[in-house]
């Protein structure tokens, strides 16, 4: 993320362009790199997962207005991947062709950035018919509202890429990975699901790893599985943050863990 701060939001004027397949231009969507996860939220949040309307997000997967309710007994598809703090959406765009039948959602707190990702996905869909229908984005505070979006054991992958490091100790409670919040992530993940974290801040990398190691519902993924996982490469190449780190020749630290069921001694 480069420096210009706070310049006006050009969301509206961009909309028509993206419908025609033109990618939105980032400079109209600059936002501060930080957002306070503790403040009261003013955006709508679904009361429960039942009220999270997926048809707006994935129109191709939810054709018509609940037509054929009775005949199509098949369960409606569910979101399986969540990219928490998706930023400008690079990972989603990278993952979409790899898992064309999996619904994925990006969750982002900054409204302008969310708007950018929305336009980006619309533009990609317009210029690549039949593709990118499985990705979407929602503006939300995932530290507060994860259970409002997903049911128990719904997700198979969760991503936390280059989260805000919140260096000061008094701000550690704002970190998106913590023992407390891992309880909720474990709740929405199915047993066997995988949680991916990566950062270029060594201290935060250690923190995220130690939280996951201490948590009884997660275990580290063996090194060979990490090597074989096609998603892992995307962690350090797909997102805007990772590209910036690579440009600057920075180091990255990942922690990749599996959701396990609880062993009570």
């Amino acid at each position: 993320m480069t420096s210009t701060n706070g310049a006006g939001g050009g969301g509206g004027r961009q909309h028509q362009a993206s419908a025609a397949g033109k990618l939105p231009r980032k400079r109209f969507y600059r936002a501060r790199a930080h957002s306070n996860p503790l403040s009261d939220s003013h955006f709508p949040v679904p009361v429960s997962p039942d009220e999270f309307d997926l048809s707006q997000h994935y129109p191709r997967y939810f054709p018509g207005d609940k037509a054929g309710d009775g005949e199509e007994a098949a369960l409606p598809p569910r979101i399986r991947f969540a990219d928490v703090g998706c930023g400008f959406g690079g990972l989603l765009v990278g993952l979409s062709p790899l898992f064309p039948d999996t619904l994925m959602i990006g969750m982002e707190l900054r409204d302008k950035v969310t708007e950018y990702v929305k336009e980006r996905i619309l533009a990609l869909r317009a210029s690549n018919p039949g593709q990118y229908d499985n990705i979407s984005v929602v503006r939300t505070n995932s530290m507060k509202y994860i259970p409002n979006y997903f049911r128990k054991a719904q997700l198979t992958k969760m991503f936390f890429l280059f989260p805000d490091p919140h260096f000061k100790e008094k701000n550690h409670r704002r970190r998106v990975i913590s023992m407390q919040l891992l309880d909720e992530y474990a709740y929405v993940m199915e047993v066997g699901g995988i949680i991916y974290t990566i950062t270029d801040v060594e201290e935060l990398g250690d923190w995220m790893r130690s939280c996951l190691e201490k948590h009884p519902l997660f275990e580290a993924l063996p090194e060979e599985e990490i090597k074989a996982d096609p998603v892992v490469k995307l962690l350090s190449t797909a997102t805007e943050e990772s590209q910036k780190v690579a440009r600057n020749g920075g180091q990255t630290f990942h922690a990749i863990f599996r959701r396990i069921s609880l062993q009570e001694e």
Binding site: H42, P147, K152, Q180, D183, Y187, L262, E265
Partner: protein
């Protein structure tokens, strides 16, 4: 700038009021009322007020008490609140055996069903647990540190209860959520496995209670700022039924009686057999009784018991052994009121049980002051005064204070778009740059 200061003043004064609380011993041995920093206990067996003694070596309460509870066995009692102290009392002697210091103000407290642990929730939404086991010498080790076992992310916990079988701990918060967590055999390592979230309230959840038909089947009931009482299958996080209190009140009351449009649920209390639920409603002088059909998984209206106009209960309690529903009203730190006077008003409802044969003899009804068990002695001890019912203006001032207090604490403030933009402009980090 100007209205920022106004707002801050509002907030700080609202925090001062603390609604009165009531708790009844599960076997009906005693009843406790907390008002401000005062704890009043009355022994129902001997018919005497209890004098509390404290040999825990800790300080006594110096701030408003926000939560009290008896343990399921009745052996222990806890009081806690704004002074960041959690005090554990033995109810046989009413000695304080332990004073735990919390880092933050405490908003809810509960004992595990086996009396081994106490859990309390702080203002940041973290639930702490302390092992109450005594070592061999009969003394509790003082240096046992509280451990955090779970947390709601930066939300005020409004209510915390253990399930009747002791397997789960349920916590309700300001962000509309109820979380049901497995309470592990060794909780000192934390309670990480979430059984369910009960989501459906569209405003803060103010109170939760378990209710059961048999030993192995229980349900959760909740009340909230959205003026609903909800019945949950908490194992699966399923909403079974919703009772719209506001709609019912609209039918029952004259339109001009409904001055308080919020009608948030202040407290709920299920009867012993689980067939009735008493509901205290903000702005309603009385108690609403709901019939709770646990087999049919339905909540329905039973009746309202109205009381004098200036009496709005803030807290409800009942015990296993009697059919009395205890209600209390009061608020501490009233600006108009001298500090020595912490007046509360107590009303008791008899026959708090569902009776299919509804004769006028065993229908729930309010007891007159003369019919109260132990009469004036009890009222004197718990109310602080006998003739409070006559002090209309005191009650009226309590009433208006209550209207502001609970709501201010729990309801999220809504700022207009312009206000938010204006605040952003005044942000410090930006000021420095420009």
């Amino acid at each position: 700038m100007e209205d920022t200061t106004v707002e801050e003043a509002e907030v700080s004064s609202a925090v001062e009021f603390a609604p009165a609380l009531i708790a009844a011993h599960p076997h009906g041995n005693s009843v406790a009322v907390a008002i401000g920093l005062e704890l009043r206990v009355f022994d129902l067996r001997s018919g005497c007020p209890v004098s509390l003694s404290d040999d825990s070596g800790g300080r006594s309460h110096s701030g408003s008490i926000r939560a009290i509870c008896f343990s399921v066995s009745g052996a222990l009692f806890a009081s806690t609140g704004d002074d960041k102290l959690v005090k554990v009392w033995k109810t046989d002697s009413w000695r304080c055996i332990r004073t735990i210091s919390s880092e933050k103000r405490v908003s809810a407290v509960a004992f595990s069903n086996n009396d081994l642990y106490i859990t309390y929730a702080d203002k940041f939404g973290v639930i702490w647990l302390v092992n109450l086991e005594e070592d061999g010498s009969g003394h509790v080790s003082v240096d046992i540190k509280p451990v955090s076992i779970l947390g709601h992310y930066c939300s005020i916990i409004t209510s915390m209860k253990f399930s009747p079988d002791g397997r789960f701990i349920a916590t309700a918060d300001r962000d509309f959520k109820i979380r049901v967590t497995l309470f592990p055999k060794n909780p000192l390592k934390g309670a990480h496995e979430i059984q369910s979230f009960c989501l459906g309230h569209t405003d803060f959840v103010s109170c939760i209670a378990f209710t059961s038909i048999s030993e192995n089947q229980s349900f959760l009931v909740s009340g909230g700022g959205d003026s609903t009482v909800r019945l949950w299958d908490y194992i699966n996080g399923c909403l079974l039924d919703t009772f719209e209190v506001r709609d019912k009140m609209g039918e029952l009351l004259e339109p001009n009686d409904q001055d308080d449009s919020s009608q948030a649920i202040a407290d709920i209390c299920p009867s012993n057999d689980g067939s009735l639920i008493a509901v205290a409603i903000q702005g309603f002088s009385g108690v609403m009784l709901l019939a709770c059909d646990l087999a049919g998984k339905k909540l329905s209206f039973r009746k309202v018991i109205t009381m004098e106009k200036s009496y709005i209960p803030t807290s409800l309690a009942s015990s296993f052994s009697s059919e009395l529903l205890w209600t209390v009203m009061g608020a501490s730190n009233m600006p108009s009121q001298a500090s020595s006077q912490l007046l509360t008003r107590l009303r008791i409802i008899r026959c708090f049980q569902n009776d299919t044969v509804s004769s006028s003899d065993n229908d729930p009804a309010t007891l007159e002051d003369s019919e109260v068990p132990h009469g004036e002695k009890l009222l004197m001890a718990l109310q602080g005064s006998l003739d409070i019912a006559k002090q209309e203006e005191v009650l009226a001032s309590v009433l208006s204070a209550l209207k502001v207090s609970m709501h201010k604490m729990l309801v999220k403030k809504h700022y207009s778009e312009e206000r938010r933009e204006q605040r952003k402009r005044g942000r410090n980090d930006k000021k420095i740059k420009s």
